[in-house]
Symmetry: D3
Subunit: 164 residues, 6 copies
């Protein structure tokens, strides 16, 4: 079965920054599980179904991945999927603070699971799902910000105001 | 009457991190006033009554404390209670930035009152009321995160969905 | 026409910190455009009309400014107004992180426009529109926090609960 | 004897920022011990004798202080002087990180002693002994950066290149 | 051969914080190479020989590790040893900034190698080799700061002033 | 004469990051003065002559620049050259803290001069003169890190160990 890593996120929608982190995980671990949060508190713009569809289209070239959804504690999902490692991308200080606290909390709840941090590629350092949505919402150009495979889908979703 | 310190917070609910800060204040000051914010903007999960009940149960061993509620400007409460010092715990950078601005604003409004910062015990560095609530909400183990005295109460409140 | 700089913000309401940044821009650039965001997501307390009125009263001494409103992408407004530079004030780390990401995103969308950062005057380092509103809302003294010209207006708006 | 606080530092030389922190300690604690580090690793510009002389001249109005020198572990000095609290001024993030680590190390070595942090007055936020020395070294104006009482002494020390 | 990770450092000397990171790497990767820097610029207190001796004594229970020395670019060593991953422990913001820049530089020089960050166990968050040396140099108690196996060695080295 | 900006630095040596900042200044201001610090405390690797030679070769395409050297207070040079603005590039938090303090100190010493900060292009975010020197010193590839025009010069300087 090999070494399994978990890449959790809301992916609302997946950005080129997310894809870069997932790609790099795929080159290190035997299996990479992309875990999409169902947590309704975050009030995502895109439906769970749409977010998974976007991920699937964007990750077709990746052979050793599995896309799942999860709710509840992340470490429960990690345990169920035999993932020994949770991988998170880091962009900035504010990310770092929050992620560090989550990593320490998860370490307390599940000492056998490690959280590894990967630093974003500098060219995606300014990218976030919310920034992309803001640009798209104002009709700005999102080329290069999200995977090419979902560019038209995203533009259409804003044109027609349909996010499900 | 001696030297009086004020420990303000929402305490929604009190964590082991809060209790550690209060305990250390009690060893330095003659009287420690634990001031629970009524500020409705924060939309606390637990009612004011419940938050005070949790604090009372958790702080029974502390002889030189008083638990009060407050609304309005913190410095008005500090003045009314003759507190010369406001004490805040610091966990992380993001805390630091916000608390620093509050301290400087309070210094401008009430130059005679000092804000002192205490660094969290490293073992509680990842702890926050919201993290505890998230773990409890998903049925995770909260042992060691909050005072033992309120553990069952908190588990029951989530089981029965009653927070008042 | 000379060199044109854009000072964007919600200005809800303008503070002495904002005015300090605008004043310093006026001494460097030929024209300074104060651009008030109409973005409804921020849910400002004061109406757009009131925010512009407060700015007008506060900036009467500044000869080379123009006050406008904008919606949509900031860089579209900058282009339309021939502004080569966007100027932002920086107070703290958390500002810095967010503003840095915005600046890099705007640079990608409009490579010909530069974002310049000015460090707040230390005496206004703790000031923000929301802190001022909190103090005013609790009846605290706002003298020196906002331009003198709008002090009475702001106190009255809270007394009568009218922000339009 | 009352409550005793320790204000450690190299004080090379004392600045208005230092004096502000010491003044505020004096209003809270019964006795404030200003502890000047002899640690030769820091390679201070001014001799220990000169640094104490500068402090004495600057703190004549403070009735409840004592100036001492120390070497070795800070907590050993705190214990010997019955200080229950170490007080440090905080200016910025980089300060914060280092001081936080020192505070946690000291807490491990001496659990009965607390470290309290005070936020610098914004108007001294940019001040440090090394910045002052750089300005003075280049003949810049140091008025308002250091206590008025030592201004001439400091200017003369640079004029004559005598720091002992 | 399996997946190989590299844990570089000066290890002057190895602390409990270092050992915690190495232990956690050993549970994730098939082989962990502990790479001790010979870089003379850092001017380590302990000789390279002594630092390796301390590491060997401290890591006897770890079966899948190899201790090596390196000079020159870290990525050249990683490539020579077939390590696909460099692992670094993170304690604080200042670490983060420096390590982030190193990781991005290494990514540019060797795109096929990933740098993973692990967050320190909170109980070692205040620990660094230099802090330990400062405490030991002043005769303070270093119990629990460094691996038990080298405690006496380290105390003796300071007693006899022999670090080779 | 128009609007004049000053870009101070040690430029030991100039990197692609420096050149990016200078290029962007040239598009905003009428004249950009690149001011190379003679401050011997920094102990630059390259001689002042060599650093200026590298800058000259790298900036031949820039028509509105002047390269000068300076010692003493930066604001004295700014005043002498009629520069109303000092421009600094910002890469990271640690930069930010230090530069913010310098900007505030300079504002106190020369209230009529503004310091503007420009955020580095993300692709140069990991770049610094010292990182480049470390890579070059170990024989690593510096292509794309420094201006193409000085690549061979820099490689030769390390090969022959001549930096004057």
């Amino acid at each position: 079965m090999g070494k399994i890593a978990l890449c959790p996120g809301t992916y609302d929608p997946v950005t080129e920054g997310h894809r870069d982190i997932i790609r790099r995980c795929c080159s290190v671990f035997d299996t990479v599980i992309v875990a999409v949060s169902e947590n309704p508190k975050k009030e995502p713009l895109y439906s769970l179904k749409k977010r998974i569809e976007f991920l699937s289209k964007s990750l077709t070239d990746f052979k050793n991945i599995e896309i799942i959804t999860f709710k509840g504690l992340l470490i429960d999902t990690a345990r169920k999927k035999n993932a020994m490692v949770i991988v998170k991308g880091l962009r900035a200080i504010s990310d770092f603070e929050y992620e560090l606290q989550m990593a320490q909390m998860n370490k307390k709840l599940a000492p056998e699971i490690e959280t590894f941090f990967l630093v974003s590629n500098p060219k995606y350092a300014y990218l976030s799902s919310s920034a992309v949505k803001e640009v798209a919402g104002f009709g700005g150009c999102i080329k290069g910000l999200i995977p090419e495979e979902i560019e038209n889908d995203m533009i259409n979703s804003f044109k027609n105001n349909i996010f499900k």
